[in-house]
């Protein structure tokens, strides 16, 4: 519902300024100069933003220009070859294809026996102990150095209770405990916020696995009941493995990829 159309009303009744077209033309022509001045003179954060925007605009312009340009391009013309099509000299022979269909569970069992897993990040940078732990000095004269504080993201589990402070050697601070992970399904390409069930394996060593430290490349087990996956037998799948793909201590969150 137009309510502020007094401007249009004035134009309708009295017309525009006599030099309106001229001024409009000049204003539009000045835009070019203004843009070039900005490109030359803007500095700092503003300059970066401008440069980024301008680059995107230019790329778009180039694309449209190219689209509208006439171009001679040669493309290979492929005759569609159907699957299973035989060359003429092989016709009239029976060809049977044999393939072994294995269930997913059998595949997994075999892999587990071999100890090989097909993971998205096969190799990760090893994390040194100095980086992983921070030495805490304790004692009356602060000379005892047997306590360690974990500096990376950890997972402790629901029923976790600390050992008595006098005896605990590894301190996992509350601020660095995570319970949820952002898990991406590689085929569906969408991300879910799923609960962590446990830390399965940390590539830096079994000690870290037992502590529940999550670094890049760690395999964790996540609760996938949200996804509604079902086994061929009809059972509901509620836990699956995922591999951590980022550095949680730097980003403040755990990003993982589901291992299907």
């Amino acid at each position: 519902m137009p309510q502020g159309d007094y401007i249009e009303l004035h134009h309708k009744r009295h017309g525009r300024r006599l030099d309106y077209e001229e001024r409009k033309r000049k204003r539009e022509a000045r835009e070019v100069h203004r843009r070039s001045r900005d490109a030359r003179k803007l500095l700092g954060a503003k300059g970066k933003r401008f440069a980024k925007k301008r680059y995107a605009e230019k790329a778009q312009m180039k694309r449209t220009l190219k689209m509208h340009d006439e171009s001679t391009s040669r493309q290979k013309v492929d005759d569609d070859v159907q699957e299973g099509a035989l060359p003429p000299y092989l016709l009239d022979r029976d060809q049977t294809q044999r393939a072994k269909t294995l269930s997913n569970t059998i595949k997994q069992k075999r892999k587990e026996k071999a100890g090989k897993w097909d993971v998205p990040l096969p190799k990760v940078r090893p994390v040194a102990e100095e980086e992983m732990f921070k030495v805490l000095r304790t004692g009356k004269r602060k000379t005892k150095q047997w306590k360690r504080m974990v500096t990376k993201a950890t997972f402790v589990g629901a029923g976790f209770t600390r050992k008595p402070p006098k005896y605990e050697r590894f301190i996992r601070p509350t601020g660095l405990r995570f319970t949820k992970a952002h898990v991406t399904h590689p085929e569906l390409k969408c991300t879910f916020n799923l609960d962590i069930i446990s830390v399965k394996k940390n590539p830096n060593g079994p000690m870290y696995t037992s502590l529940g430290v999550m670094t890049r490349g760690t395999i964790i087990e996540v609760n996938v009941s949200e996804l509604g996956l079902v086994t061929p037998a009809g059972k509901v799948v509620w836990g699956k493995y995922a591999q951590v793909t980022n550095n949680p201590e730097n980003d403040g969150c755990i990003n993982a990829v589901l291992l299907v």
Partner: protein
């Protein structure tokens, strides 16, 4: 009482700009420098400050949005309903709710990351955490950018809503489309509503103000309502329905009895009966418009019956207090001829005023006030009648004014002669010219190859006269000059030549002087020392004088003496010698002339000292100069720029002395040794002894002398 100032809502920036604003503000208003080597707590504090600052800014800006947009339940129901009709209430609430959740999410993000930053043990880690925090906050805002765009549109629209006060005296105009509501509105108020022959010209509510009995009334023009079931009504009609429903106003229901709006009286009557429930408790006036096309009396039987039915309904709305006069309920008028417009307005305003006064009188507050009022009426002195006194002239003028006819407008002329497309007015008929017959003449544009417009001037005749006067004066002058004779004798050929030369020279001088005078303000007089053209050299003057037959030597000497510095005594003596010489101002320094050595006839010895500047002779001045030089010698040796220069470039110059050893040797335990620029060794025993020996012999000498 909420102020319905929807214009005061701050602009809601679009999502991207919002992010840019906050991030650039964070970058500007928080410290920007941090290095790897700083203490870890300082690094942490640096980044935590940034995260906190961003969160606070986001919070503030989102809060202003949420607070400034009006809550539909808190404002007057008229505005609440109007806003619901225009922008769906649910969408509006949803958008504001999204902003609220975004605000809370950002607060939570900030809290989480501030907690994580406490465990940051390196600059890189803290920086990553800060980047992640700001990034997540910005993503939240990016997600709500459609809501922000929607709210910005609403804000712009709301700011342009008409400012209707729901509580003051209001007159509402309603009826079918095209019946003449907007024209009536334009007639009684200063509102400039668009009036067009097509239906639904008015698409929204318009407000105007009018006065009656020294009180201001709001007049609200509504878009036309069609007779449809309630659910089918579109937004435009809903606006008028809302206005009818919520505003306590006098209602003017417009009827077009000529049918030129395209709807018959029966349709209009049907509409009336369908919305008559909205007229409850409101003074209603039924107005029959366009009586110039169709007078009320000329209506058919059925139509008349319908109109009377409506009138019956309207009578029911008359309050009990007012006496039911039939005049105030059904009125006729025509906006085109202005016939009856004022009476309609007066009737509506009167009815409204009565009703409002009634209501107010019945309220409790009035009873208290009424007890305190007492209108005092002067007691009549005697039974003499004292009528109004109007002077005779005024009465006559009034009578004449009544007789005088209305001025004929151009528009009436146009209408008479066939209308807009047929008749074109002659724009030249009011021209003021010397001869009336010239009015219809065509003005040529080009004459003899020249543009006539270039030569046109409003005061061209005056200019012509001025020029002629000047010309006359000049001719007189010329005649006077030519008639000039020296004592009546005739001039010889030679004399004539000389005379003409002199005259030419004089004219040239006058011209130059005039030129100089004209440009004196714009061009400064160049002093002689910048005379690049060398126009004012003594040689030139000499040549010029000799060409005239005058001996130039004395003049040149004089000129030269002025340009060069001379000893005072010499110049003084010169003055004594040539009494009629010109005065000499003083020594004029002219660097250029000094450089030209050939023009310098007398040169001074290099060590010659001229007495002056307060010294009585050269000897004294020489002594003073020597003293000054001696003083500066010491300063120059110390490389000091002047008396006041006390800068010490290096406090302990290594090349002069092993200051370390010096300090160590002279260090007093528990104190420090004072170092000076020069070597001042402490007095040793040996030197004391030497002094003692020196003293003793002097003392002995004294003894011996006695």
């Amino acid at each position: 009482m909420v102020q319905y100032n929807f214009k005061k809502i701050t602009i809601v920036p679009p999502g991207k700009d919002f992010i840019d604003i906050i991030l650039s503000r964070t970058q500007r208003q928080t410290p920007t420098v941090v290095h790897k080597g700083y203490a870890i707590s300082r690094i942490r504090q640096f980044y935590m400050r940034k995260v906190r600052y961003s969160q606070q800014n986001f919070y503030e800006k989102l809060s202003t949005i949420i607070d400034e947009f009006p809550r539909l339940d808190d404002i007057h129901p008229f505005y609440g309903d109007l806003l619901h009709v225009l922008y769906n209430k649910d969408h509006y609430k949803l958008a504001l709710g999204q902003i609220n959740t975004a605000r809370n999410i950002i607060a939570k993000i900030s809290k989480d990351y501030l907690r994580l930053l406490k465990y940051g043990d390196s600059l890189y880690r803290c920086k990553c955490l800060k980047v992640a925090a700001l990034g997540r906050m910005c993503t939240v805002v990016k997600r709500i950018s459609p809501s922000l765009a929607y709210l910005e549109q609403i804000r712009q629209h709301m700011a342009r809503l008409p400012s209707i006060d729901p509580n003051t005296r209001t007159v509402l105009i309603c009826g079918y489309p095209n019946v003449g509501k907007s024209s009536f509105m334009n007639k009684i108020t200063r509102a400039d509503v668009d009036v067009q022959p097509y239906a639904f010209t008015t698409k929204s509510l318009f407000v105007g103000h009018t006065d009656y009995k020294y009180l201001r009334y709001q007049v609200i023009d509504t878009p036309g309502i069609l007779d449809r079931p309630f659910e089918d009504r579109n937004i435009i009609e809903m606006c008028s329905i809302t206005a009818l429903a919520h505003l306590r106003a006098a209602v003017l229901f417009f009827l077009d009895i000529s049918g030129s709006c395209g709807y018959s009286i029966s349709q209009q009557a049907a509409l009336f009966h369908s919305i008559k429930s909205l007229f409850m408790n409101k003074p209603l006036v039924i107005v029959c418009n366009k009586t110039d096309l169709q007078p009320l009396e000329g209506l058919s039987e059925d139509d008349m019956k319908l109109v009377m039915e409506m009138k019956e309904e309207a009578m029911k709305t008359i309050t009990q207090a007012g006496d039911p006069n039939e005049e105030g309920v059904l009125l006729t008028m025509s906006t085109l001829t202005d016939d009856g417009v004022m009476s309609v307005k007066n009737a509506a305003c009167e009815r409204l005023l009565e009703q409002r006064v009634d209501v107010k009188m019945k309220s409790k507050k009035m009873i208290d006030c009424l007890n305190r009022f007492h209108v005092a009426v002067p007691k009549p002195r005697d039974n003499k009648e004292r009528p109004v006194c109007i002077p005779q002239a005024v009465l006559e003028a009034r009578a004449n004014a009544a007789v005088k006819e209305k001025k004929k407008l151009e528009r009436d002329l146009e209408n008479e002669n066939g209308g807009a497309g047929v008749y074109s007015a002659s724009l030249k008929k009011h021209y003021i010219l010397a001869n009336d017959e010239w009015k219809e003449d065509v003005l040529p544009e080009i004459l003899d190859g020249h543009n006539v417009a270039d030569f046109l001037d409003p005061d061209i005749l005056e200019r012509c006269e001025e020029l002629e006067r000047e010309e006359g004066l000049r001719l007189e002058e010329q005649a006077a000059q030519e008639a000039f004779e020296i004592d009546g004798h005739e001039l010889t050929q030679e004399q004539k030549e000389i005379l003409s030369q002199i005259r030419k020279k004089k004219a040239l001088l006058i011209q130059e002087h005039r030129m100089k005078k004209r440009t004196a303000e714009s061009r400064p007089i160049v002093p002689r020392k910048f005379d690049k053209d060398r126009k004012f050299t003594a040689d030139r003057m000499g040549r010029h004088l000799s060409s005239m037959g005058v001996d130039p030597s004395s003049a040149m000497d004089r000129a030269r003496s002025r340009s060069r510095g001379r000893k005072r005594e010499r110049s003084l003596s010169r003055v004594a010698a040539d009494g009629d010489d010109m005065e000499i101002d003083g020594q004029q320094s002219n660097k250029k002339l000094r450089l030209r050595s050939r023009s310098r006839s007398k040169s001074r010895a290099p060590e010659e000292v001229i007495p002056g500047e307060g010294f009585k002779d050269s000897e004294q001045k020489k002594k003073a100069i020597k003293k000054a030089k001696d003083a500066t010698k010491k300063r120059n040796k110390d490389a000091r720029r002047g008396e006041a220069d006390r800068v010490i470039p290096t406090l302990k110059p290594k090349h002069l002395k092993d200051w370390g050893k010096f300090c160590r040797d002279n260090l007093v335990k528990g104190g420090f040794c004072v170092t000076t620029g020069t070597d001042t060794p402490l007095p040793t025993l040996a030197s004391c002894v030497i002094v003692a020996f020196l003293i003793v012999p002097i003392g002995l000498c004294n003894l011996f002398d006695r």
